[in-house]
Symmetry: C2
Subunit: 221 residues, 2 copies
Amino acid sequence: MTARTSTESARDIPEATVARLPVYLRALTTLSEAGTGTCSSEALAAAAGVNSAKLRKDLSYLGSYGTRGVGYDVDYLRYQIAREIGVTQDWPVVIVGIGNLGHALANYSGFRSRGFRTVALLDADPARHGEMVAGIQVRPFVDLESIVAEHGVAIGVIATPAVAAQAVADRMVACGITSILNFAAGVLSVPAGVDVRKVDLSVELQVLAYHEQRKAQGELA
Amino acid sequence: MTARTSTESARDIPEATVARLPVYLRALTTLSEAGTGTCSSEALAAAAGVNSAKLRKDLSYLGSYGTRGVGYDVDYLRYQIAREIGVTQDWPVVIVGIGNLGHALANYSGFRSRGFRTVALLDADPARHGEMVAGIQVRPFVDLESIVAEHGVAIGVIATPAVAAQAVADRMVACGITSILNFAAGVLSVPAGVDVRKVDLSVELQVLAYHEQRKAQGELA
DNA sequence: TCCGTTTTGTTCTCCCGTTCACAAACTCCT
DNA sequence: AGGAGTTTGTGAACGGGAGAACAAAACGGA
Ligand SMILES: NC(=O)c1ccc[n+]([C@@H]2O[C@H](COP(=O)([O-])OP(=O)(O)OC[C@H]3O[C@@H](n4cnc5c(N)ncnc54)[C@H](O)[C@@H]3O)[C@@H](O)[C@H]2O)c1
Ligand SMILES: NC(=O)c1ccc[n+]([C@@H]2O[C@H](COP(=O)([O-])OP(=O)(O)OC[C@H]3O[C@@H](n4cnc5c(N)ncnc54)[C@H](O)[C@@H]3O)[C@@H](O)[C@H]2O)c1
């Protein structure tokens, strides 16, 4: 899914680790807000819900930011992880499809607080244009190109119905967006060099249902 | 995360495969609606966005539902996968926390169409009680026990702020819910035998940001 | 009936990720 | 200064999943 180009840069962090770094980051933020200055890998692992050995190995890919016999300085480690992920900088984001889900996303404060700034809300339906959502005006989808160019947007979010998703993705890619978060069902096809992450709620529920069914079967055995 | 009890039932399907079965199911539904009666592993794999060898191996865990030299009967395979996942039966679901996200989830048609029936929308805020969302009345959170008992609910969805999530989960577990889909940030701790799946949008965006940052670094090298 | 073609089901190998276990490194106390 | 106690960082073993490759099976045509 994630097509990487020629030169793999210096430190190569495993994909599984990358997916956990944001979790560590959040745990560290919580600890920091609670006034904790230092924490052990054991404590941080508990806060993040992972095995402590895994945590230490993950952190070792970034460098040696801990002190043996002591632990990690919470704020220092937090900064190092934030820098590695890239959330110390500001990421402009556009959201396309301001329906039920789009409204929720636009109102979600968790994006802004992590360096993601919603610069535009776009929708194809003229009836929605001009509506204010979370202090931002909904604009026509055709404005995509100019907005992306103006703000240097690299990340796009798709919250349209499934039938429109591929067309939206194509337009996004055409005007230079290289990372897409897709909430619509179905498979998006994009050129190499563009990253797509998909969030599919019905898949999550179906996985739960599978295990639930198994539990029920086990009971009557 | 998924704690399984004593007797692993007859066929043991790998977790990675379980997570892909819903994707195959959707692809098969699309093919069926397009009037396709039979398809090869190659075609289905393309529709699902996976490698055809992986698809065949996944399906082999369920049994031999294909015909060599021909392919798979779309409707037959669809039924078999649906049965295996458990979406041929009806799953009552409660959603707790009817804010921005809760509204979107309640209005989402993709749940109902896959066998998940929202039987209740619960919120702790009295100001929300009585509001109609997607044809269902929002009720007080304290009604959880009676609703779960009445409908035999096994699956709960948490869309409350993070601070309330653990308390909500505890209450859910106490009244018999054994599968939880959690949208709130942070780690939920639940007893063995309860499955939790977490959807964390800011993690997804941060993973994209990481790769985006890498692409940018690569360019100026 | 037999042969060529197509496509599945499965085996085998490789790679990634997880976990264990321990030496190295640091602090604190005597 | 030295030793006891802690905790990190990492080497190594292990397990599971991904993909290649192929044998087995079904079909169609002659
Ligand atoms: N609501 C949920 O909780 C939920 C959950 C999971 C997945 N999803 C998926 O997310 C997507 C959006 O869901 P929703 O409930 O918000 O749907 P919705 O119908 O409420 O909103 C879709 C919005 O997209 C706009 N749109 C349609 N075509 C467009 C185009 N070509 N360009 C720009 N905008 C366009 C529509 O005008 C509408 O405002 C769907 O694909 C849905 O399957 C939703
Ligand atoms: N909005 C999004 O797009 C989005 C995205 C990702 C994650 N989230 C997460 O999902 C959760 C909900 O987000 P939201 O935007 O809908 O928030 P929200 O504040 O709009 O809604 C939260 C709702 O939960 C209710 N609530 C609070 N405490 C409760 C309790 N103890 N029991 C029952 N109900 C309770 C509140 O009354 C409110 O209606 C948050 O944890 C948020 O971080 C939201």
